[in-house]
Symmetry: C2
Subunit: 366 residues, 2 copies
């Protein structure tokens, strides 16, 4: 168990979460401000290792659902976070022992921490996928035997739905529709789990990793070192089956985006630093799903594709990518747990309708 100690820690975690989230999972600013405010009142988030959980502990995964373009405007209010956790305890008819993030993402890995400070619960160091994903069923939780429902979703106005789906694919459709009916931005509790299930199914250590990544970028800047290069060096650890690659360096020259069916969809094109025709492209459904260089696929889900500012290495939420930005595009291999065939079947390119297979980043961009 460790306490998030400082405002700097929170900002580092927010920065690292946008990076690991592949630009998705919402904008972290509102969540970070809420957390910092809580800490000023002496309410520090507590993060526990999964190993510290009793096997029969009761854990729920909480997250915001909606297009990040709408989530940004989402008010993380003490009232609402408290209501969500209280609705949970009442609905599941037992006290909750810990919260866990459904996914790592700008907003979504800070939100459980924010809720936890409000109701004085620990948050497990881990999450459902080790990155952000646009679908509820795309989690290691689901892939390794947990069920997304019964779920509880609520909105700022106080509307509530309890959702019971026959499978997690249907759960996604039902939760996404509930989101549309409730103003396109909801908070929910998903994947009620035992402590034992968390240990088996979750991607572990990912919350700590957001802190490490964010800290690494910040300290490199402070030392006036090259933050992009330091980040790549930190992330690329072949002995742990983690690979990081610089996929492209250049300038955003075209962004086509729309918010539709509760998602943020976009296509982004980039030219090299020397200018010229766009040669690199990104496809986005909340998160960056595919990167192509001169038409050749160089990275795909489940691997993580993140755009960072060329100067500061600040990771950029996908919905904030704009014309003219000078950026580096980094590819980072997903957690080994979500690169297994059974996981790739649920979160690989074909699960999004692309007609090509997952190519591990270390093979596509050696």
């Amino acid at each position: 168990m460790y306490r998030v100690e400082s405002e700097t820690d929170v900002r580092d975690m927010a920065r690292g979460a946008v990076f690991l989230g592949g630009g998705g999972g919402g904008d972290p600013r509102v969540g970070a401000l809420f957390l910092i405010d809580q800490m000023r009142r002496g309410r520090h988030p507590r993060v526990m290792e999964a190993a510290e959980l009793a096997d029969d502990a009761f854990v729920v995964s909480i997250a915001g659902v909606g297009a990040p373009t709408v989530l940004e405007e989402y008010l993380v209010s003490a009232r609402m976070l408290r209501r969500l956790v209280e609705e949970c305890a009442q609905f599941y008819k037992r006290p909750i022992d810990a919260l866990i993030s459904a996914e790592i993402g700008g907003f979504n890995s800070l939100m459980p921490l924010a809720a936890a400070t409000e109701v004085d619960l620990p948050v497990v160091d881990g999450d459902g996928i080790g990155r952000a994903v646009p679908h509820i069923e795309m989690t290691a939780f689901s892939i390794y035997g947990c069920r997304a429902t019964p779920s509880i979703v609520t909105d700022e106005a106080g509307n509530v739905s309890h959702i019971f789906a026959v499978d997690d694919h249907t759960a996604e459709a039902m939760i996404r529709s509930a989101c549309v009916g409730m103003g396109s931005s909801i908070a929910g509790a998903f994947y009620p789990m035992s402590g034992r299930q968390v240990k088996e199914a979750a991607v572990l250590g990912s919350l700590r990793q957001t802190l490490d990544i964010g800290r690494r970028i910040r300290t490199a800047r402070e030392r006036q070192s090259d933050p992009v290069q330091e980040l790549l060096t930190y992330l690329d650890v072949p002995a742990q089956q983690r690979f990081a690659r610089l996929l492209f360096e250049g300038r955003i020259v075209d962004v086509q985006r729309e918010t539709r069916d509760g998602w943020h969809w976009a296509q982004v094109r980039l030219s090299g630093s020397a200018g010229g025709e766009p040669e690199f492209s990104l496809e986005i459904q909340n998160e960056i799903l595919v990167a192509r260089n001169r038409g050749r696929i160089v990275a795909t889900v489940p691997d993580i594709i993140t755009v960072v500012d060329s100067e500061s290495a600040e990771p950029l939420p996908a919905e904030r990518l704009t014309y003219g930005q000078r950026v580096h595009v980094i590819g980072y291999s997903a957690d080994p747990k979500v690169r297994k065939p059974e996981a790739v079947a649920v979160i690989g390119p074909r699960a999004f309708g692309f007609n090509f297979d997952f190519v591990p980043i270390e093979q596509a961009a050696p």
Copy 2:
């Protein structure tokens, strides 16, 4: 309390329900077949007067939700109706004393009868509006102080949502969205009410009226009398503030329809019996909302507008109106309870986005 005795009664009720439903509320055939099958097993629907309810009785309103174009394909299964009622009793934590229709409509006034035979409950002679309406909040229940939620909705596959909305307008959005997420066709329990609330808020006697209307049309045919004329004579009772008018007689010459956002939308144009340019038009959102003769509004919601076959006076579901049909269009004033200003505010033309006021049918088509 009376028992629905014969298959003929069921078919008469189905016919009358399509008429009172303004062509909406779904196709009655599947519900009628289910009921007839139940009766052959000795399970006759029992219909009770609201006055027979104890003030503290517990009543829920059950209905199918979805575009009638999809509802038609909806399978009324014993398993599903039973599950819905059992989910209700479990959720509300008390046994249900009676069911009531949310609306009168081809499918929706037979469905509570079907469910009631399966779980051996009576159905109250009445409903939420005395006609069919495309929105959950458009009921006398809501207008006179009951709340649509907590609602329970379920689908054929066994998915379930419990919905708690801050108001009935939001309930409509949440239920409609749930419907889209669950394959566009769901069954739900709405408006949990006390017996006293039913007596105060419901439109009473409407189930019996479906039987009377259907029977009147059938017997007129059997006597080779003019069924349209007999129907108009039966319905037009100024002393009871009920008015019926023949709005048009002619042929359908154009139908534009689409299923969108969980509703069936259509525009229908008619020419007079002598042919020539279309001079009469109908606007449909599940139900017929507005009738115009040479551009002049001759009937609007909440009054009932129904198209019947010219020969047989068989009322036609709005989604079955097709090119070439020879029809009579009949206008029938809504129940006085839903013509009051507070009701017209919720279910009048402006509630559907039209920029004109409700004109009572006896004034528009004298």
